[in-house]
Amino acid sequence: MVIWDSSVLFDHWDRYMQGFGQTVLASLLALIGSLIIGTIIAILRISPYRWLNVFGAAYVEFLRNIPLLVVVFFFFLGLPSLGIPLDGFSSGTIGLMVYTSSFIAEAIRAGIQAVPKGQTEAARSSGLSYVQSMWHVVLPQAVKVVLPAVGNQMINLVKNSAILGVVAGLDLMYYADLISSDTFLPIPVYTFVALFYLVLTVPLSMAVHYMERRFARSNA
């Protein structure tokens, strides 16, 4: 029985590449979306308005305490049952985005709260609005604190994107399943899949480290 055969990579290169491309695209879209949603939710959580706090807290607590698979199935199976059809790629990406945004929101909230209160007071006392003082004074300082945690979430997101394989999202994992069932060589097939994920995550974590060091070096 053959266990290892490197030719699966070259024989199925096109499928690998197609899946890899979709994985990159899904990760990128989910990443951008979750950063935007996460920042908004974080600001809601610490805003002076009580009902916004409650909404933000509910969003975070709900989403980060259920399995990613459940979130994705809600979009993949739940919405179509209400007459809103979503394909596997979209539902997987949106699920991933929404799910990750709850973790990012928590990280950003912690970062914002690490900025001394005097900073907001100085900004507000000079007539800047709440949003202006957030944008010009608090968030730029929070970034430095938040970077390691958000960097981790970015890497998690790329890895979690494998969920698309479950909902026919045409990503790396989806094609790997196809190649594996065609070739009966799961070990080389998934080894190459792992390498493809590493091609994404290793440079990403190096980039995060680099930025951390850069921010650490810039003034206090």
Partner: protein, 214 residues
């Protein structure tokens, strides 16, 4: 120049912070500059641009250069052009004696220099009133003088200032009016001369004698 004095925890800073509503006003009425501050519906941002504030811990923005610390509010709140704001900022930086530090970051400055930047930051907004919340309490002794000098010269130029301070010598010599607080209340409100020579209230007398005896 109004100076607010009194023992720790007597509500001096709270009173000062009520003037620009950094402290929430829970009860009663407070009218500043003709604006009813206790009314939640007023445009607080519009009101605050006319009141500068200097804090005990400077609260400069560490991620911005000195010059950018100063021009942020003039540009964003008053809608000044960048060039105009810079020019004004430089005028005030020179006036507080640190025009050469415009491109430094706050962390590269001494405490006294940082506090002078904070004063210039307040002044560049052209405020009607400047509030000082223990501006010298976080400074090394040798730097207190330089900050008090700046404040003194501001007073000479006619700036309206309300100052919470423990510097009694400064209060005595520079203040027009002294407010003495204890346990959250204004106990005495007098001219500087009257207050330091013949305080009316017993508590003010005790407070002053305690200060003089060490």
């Amino acid at each position: 120049m109004v100076v607010i004095v009194g023992p720790s925890g007597s509500g001096k800073s709270t009173l000062l912070r009520c003037i620009n509503r950094l402290e929430t006003i829970t009860d009663g009425e407070l009218v500043v500059n003709g604006v009813p501050l206790h009314n939640k519906k007023i445009d607080i941002n519009r009101f605050r641009r006319e009141i500068g504030m200097v804090f005990q811990h400077f609260n400069l923005y560490p991620h911005k250069k000195v010059i950018d610390n100063i021009i942020l509010a003039p540009v964003k709140v008053l809608g000044m052009s960048n060039a105009e704001a810079r020019e004004k900022a430089m005028t005030y930086l020179n006036r507080v004696g640190i025009g050469d530090k415009a491109d430094s970051y706050p962390s590269q400055l001494s405490g006294g220099q940082q506090q002078r930047v904070a004063i210039a930051r307040g002044l560049t907004m052209n405020p009607k009133i400047m509030l000082f919340d223990e501006p010298t309490s976080a400074l090394d002794p040798e730097m207190i003088g330089e900050v008090l000098d700046v404040m003194r010269s501001l007073a000479h130029q006619g700036m309206t200032m309300v100052i919470v301070t423990h510097e009694m010598g400064f209060a005595k010599e520079a203040a027009d009016r002294v407010i003495f607080m204890d346990e959250g209340r204004i106990v005495e409100d007098a001219t500087s001369e009257d207050f330091f020579k013949q305080p009316k209230e017993e508590r003010a007398r005790t407070f002053l004698s305690r200060l003089l005896h060490h």
